[in-house]
């Protein structure tokens, strides 16, 4: 067995090993295992990414599975890279974050076991090229993450969120099973490679195949309207798990969609339009909901939906390129997909890790109770700031690079000279800009109200950064953000063997000189960095001889300023939410007693997810109505159930006899 597969199993080994270790050392031992897993598995990953050679391991299992191919091709390797690094960072973070559960009778063994199982199954998802084993890995990944989400299962809202998440995953996998069953019944084999022929032979059906897979994988990724589990599961899960789920796990959905696109030879233009539009809607609705959230983990969950939307736009763009035979557009589209997938992994994980530091110190997720944390948590706040700048897509950090290529590809798709494509391209360009400007509202709010200003409530203990295990993963991610942001070639170099899988002629010196484009970006950004340094030092020089006075914030002469007078999460978002009140209505409940003297009053505002109310709720209620018709079957009496069993057996007997006769 190869080192790569052993390495990926090491996460699971670690999870099993720590069961037998004392509570205080579980996390630290697990870090060792995940580090070993990385050391064993990364060489193969890098080798595949750089040389472009695929590793194939074939094993023959007993009856239901049969011969299975594990294939590490460049696409798998790229996702495996994210999973490996992401899992390692999550294990480091756990060592700090889970400390607060030590000695509180929490199920830390189960936590580490399922963390290991999740990491291993995620790697298997991206390397298994066999329908049955793929579905098994996929389900193991969902089950492991379900148990991790419900770690704090003594809380009712956590249990509710967990069951909601699990149900969503089962609905998603039902579509995958349907898709795989249909396609493998046509191909006569469970091997992914045989599916390619089905897509060519049954070309007229390929839209239906794709839609089944898109719904199935899209549920995991979080495309609207299958996104409803994200804003529930992320706040419920421990932060280390939210980061792993949002940064890494939802990308397996993207991997699935990309794999299906690879297997499809011909892409109908209508599908490309569909994916681009779904991506656009996902991005806009996702970020519009994020703006109005008060719970920062829910905000980050909605922002994950937004970023999946951006990736969706890029996938749609790549598919348009393929559908119209324009390699350049396809190349830029899929380059955007892969870059944004990696970038989102870095900044979203960092944001969740930062949020976890805040939560572990303040024990609240409500932005309205926070503020002024930059003074208490200086390192966290500066890394959090980098992550917010990156996720808003501004230059110098990596978020910009991914969006740059998507914009560029969209602008290039005008050359296809098709009215449909042109309209979609302008929708995509302006939609991305709209998403970007809404992201600015979201993240100025998140960073500005959480870390800046004055604290909106009193903390029992002064927040402080005492745990380097929690800061280490963030700092690694910030390094990635700057590395990719300032010199995109570092990551694009690893993608050079992945991209030709989608767009055969896309190389560094293909249609346009990609290398010189990337170099110009790097040089420009270096100039920008130089400007900042020069101007900052100019100021230092200018004020060096002047007096710097410290005084309280100017409030027009009013002296009784309190922290309650600051803008809150609701009021900061209010002007914009008014503009989009049709898209995201805000519900405000005021409880006020009218009496002569003021009494205690309360105000609660919450936003409604319209996409959920419009699409998901009607389906659920219709389904429930239909299922109610059969509710009489469930009487709760054992005797009746035994009768059902007997009737079933009888019918079966008659049928078999009938067939034989």
């Amino acid at each position: 067995m190869d080192l790569f597969l052993i390495g990926s199993l090491f996460f699971l080994f670690g999870g099993i090993a720590v069961i037998f270790i004392g509570e205080n050392y579980k996390s630290k031992i697990y870090i060792v295992f995940s580090a070993v897993a990385n050391i064993l598995a990364l060489p193969a990953v890098f080798n595949t990414l750089i040389s472009g050679e695929s590793y194939i391991w074939s094993y023959i299992f007993s009856f239901p599975i049969g011969k299975v191919n594990f294939v590490l091709d460049p696409l798998s390797a790229f996702f495996a890279l994210i999973i490996l690094i992401g899992s390692f960072l999550a294990s480091c973070y756990s060592a700090g974050y889970m400390k607060m559960y030590i000695g509180k009778n929490a199920q830390l063994s189960a936590y580490h076991f399922f963390l290991g199982l999740m990491s291993t199954s995620m790697i298997f998802v991206v390397v298994v090229q066999d329908a049955i084993l793929f579905l098994i890995s996929w389900e193991l990944m969902s089950i492991a993450s379900f148990f991790l989400v419900t770690f704090e299962n003594e809380k009712i809202e956590v249990r509710k969120a967990g069951i909601y998440y699990f149900t969503s995953m089962q609905i998603g996998v039902a579509f995958l099973i349907a898709g795989f069953a249909w396609i493998s019944s046509l191909s006569g084999s469970l091997d992914f490679n045989s599916f390619n022929e089905v897509f060519i032979k049954y070309n007229h059906l390929s839209i239906f195949f794709f839609l089944l897979f898109f719904i199935g994988f899209g549920t995991k990724a979080g495309f609207i309207p299958m996104h409803t589990w994200l804003p529930r599961a992320h706040p419920a899960a421990p932060t280390s798990i939210s980061a792993l789920m949002s940064g890494v796990m939802i990308k397996t959905g993207i991997y699935g969609i990309l794999r299906i696109i690879l297997l499809m030879d011909i892409i109908p233009a209508s599908l490309a339009y569909f994916v681009l539009l779904i991506g656009l809607i996902t991005g806009i609705v996702g970020i519009a909901n994020a703006i109005s959230q008060h719970d920062f983990k829910k905000l980050l969950a909605y922002s994950s939906i937004e970023n999946i939307g951006i990736i969706g736009i890029a996938i749609g763009l790549g598919m348009i390129g393929k559908a119209y035979g324009n390699d350049l557009v396809a190349g830029f589209g899929f380059l955007g997909v892969l870059l944004h997938t990696f970038n989102h992994f870095t900044f979203k994980s960092a944001l969740f890790y930062g949020a976890g530091v805040v939560y572990s110190q303040t024990h609240t997720r409500n932005i309205d109770l926070l503020g002024g944390l930059a003074k208490h948590l200086p390192k966290t706040s500066i890394m959090f700031l980098f992550a917010t700048v990156a996720i808003s897509g501004f230059p110098l950090l990596n978020g910009f690079v991914g969006e740059f290529f998507i914009y560029s590809g969209l602008a290039k798709s005008f050359s296809i000279q098709n009215i449909g494509v042109s309209i979609l391209a302008i929708l995509g360009i302006s939609g991305l800009a709209f998403i970007g400007s809404m992201a600015m509202i979201t993240f100025t709010k998140l960073f500005g109200l959480t870390f800046l200003g004055m604290s909106r409530s009193e903390f029992h203990t002064v927040p402080e950064e005492k745990n380097n295990f929690m800061l280490f993963p963030m700092s690694i991610l910030v390094v990635f953000m700057f590395l990719v942001g300032l010199s995109p070639i570092t990551i694009i170099y690893l993608l050079l063997k992945v991209l030709p899988m989608f767009s055969p002629h896309f190389t560094l010196s293909g249609y346009i000189d990609l290398l010189s484009l990337i170099n110009s970006i790097t040089i420009s950004l270096a100039i920008f960095l130089l400007f900042i340094v020069v101007i900052y030092n100019l100021r230092k020089l200018l004020i060096s001889k002047r007096s710097i006075k410290k005084f309280k914030t100017w409030d027009c002469g009013y002296q009784g300023v309190t922290s309650k007078m600051q803008y809150t999460s609701g009021s900061y978002a209010h002007p914009f939410m008014q503009l989009i009140s049709k898209l995201v209505p805000i519900e405000i409940n005021v409880e006020k007693e009218s009496a002569l003297f003021p009494k205690e009053a309360s105000l609660k505002s919450s936003s409604l997810d319209v996409s959920e109310g419009l699409i998901i709720q009607p389906i659920i209620s219709a389904l429930r109505k239909f299922m109610d018709l059969f509710s009489w079957i469930q009487s709760g009496r054992m005797q009746q159930y035994i009768i059902y069993g007997l009737i079933f057996l009888l019918v079966l007997l008659i049928w078999i006899l009938g067939v034989e006769l």
């Binding site: 230059p395 740059f404 800009a433 800046l452 914009f576």
Partner: protein, 306 residues
């Protein structure tokens, strides 16, 4: 080399054009006008002063003006001069142009939230709200420009636009008007914002700078002056006809920018400022114009939708 000289010229002329606006307003109102060089004196005065920094603030407050100014100057490097082109140019450089202006705004906004003042929070949320409309419309314009010209670099876009077919006259008009609205919005001028108001409750841009003083305030003010000139320079690219001697073109560019600022001054003299709640409606005009220009281009390029 000439590009760098021109860039430096833009940097040094930025305050003067604001002086032009003030001059126009004063003359229109029948007041005795301050010199058009007054903004330089103001900046110089600020550069020589010490600072008062709020005790509420953190590191963000101190670094934000430097990043703001750097980002705006960086955006200037991508703005093409008529006939001569931009200092930095590459494929799809319009994205980096728009996003570095966005970065400037990002730091302006979080710096204002850093003071913990409710006035500044108010300015901040207005700024980000209005910029969603402006930015989206701006990208529709940029996309349309890429569509007409089949180019993705700013410089090439303008070269192609100025040398292509006749119907672009209408497009140019739409572009100029919608970019002019953007100039008013980004420059925080009437009718979106009033730079001369003395009531914090009605301010947008000014209120975000309330707590700044000395060098940092000078940086912020200078950055917003440059930002205005950058957009004016973009507009002037649409106004310069083709096939002129280069010196005449540059002179014409200067004159057109002067006229744009004159228009800003006239707008400020003639139009009252809109109610804050009605500002989005005014800004949607820019979106409408941008979409119209796209529709026209799509119609002509594809010979009508059959």
């Amino acid at each position: 080399m000439i590009k760098i000289i021109l860039t430096l010229a833009v940097l040094s002329l930025a305050p003067m054009f604001v002086g032009v606006i003030n001059k126009v307003k004063a003359i229109w109102a029948g007041r005795h006008a301050a010199s058009i060089f007054q903004p330089y004196y103001d900046l110089l005065k600020l550069f020589r002063k010490g600072e008062v920094i709020s005790t509420t603030t953190s590191f963000v407050f101190e670094i934000a003006p430097s990043i703001n100014l750097a980002a705006v100057i960086f955006a200037l490097l991508f703005t093409p001069f008529p006939y001569i082109g931009a200092v930095l140019k590459f494929d799809s450089d319009f994205v980096i142009f728009a996003y570095s202006l966005g970065l400037a705004k990002f730091f302006l906004v979080i710096a204002s939230l850093d003071t913990g003042s409710s006035f500044e929070g108010m300015g901040a949320n207005r700024e980000v709200t209005f910029s969603t409309i402006v930015e989206t419309a701006f990208f529709v314009l940029l996309g349309t420009l890429a569509f007409i010209t089949n180019q993705t670099s700013f410089e090439q876009m303008f070269i192609m636009l100025n040398s292509s077919a006749n119907y672009t006259l209408l497009i140019k008009l739409l572009f100029v008007v919608s970019l002019f609205i953007m100039l008013l919005a980004e420059g925080s001028r009437v009718p979106i914002d009033d730079p001369n108001t003395h009531l914090e409750l009605t301010m947008i841009h000014e209120v975000m700078l309330l707590d700044y003083s000395g060098v940092n305030l000078a940086f912020m003010v200078f950055a917003s002056q440059i930002k205005m000139l950058v957009i004016a320079l973009l507009i002037s690219n649409f106004l310069i006809p083709l096939n002129l001697p280069i010196t005449l073109a540059l002179l014409l560019c200067l004159v057109s920018i002067f006229l744009i600022y004159l228009c800003v001054g006239l707008v400020e003299s003639l139009i009252a400022r809109t109610r804050i709640s009605h500002v989005p409606q005014f800004l949607f005009l820019m979106t409408a114009l941008a979409l119209t220009s796209f529709a026209i281009v799509a119609f002509f390029t594809h010979g009508g939708i059959k």
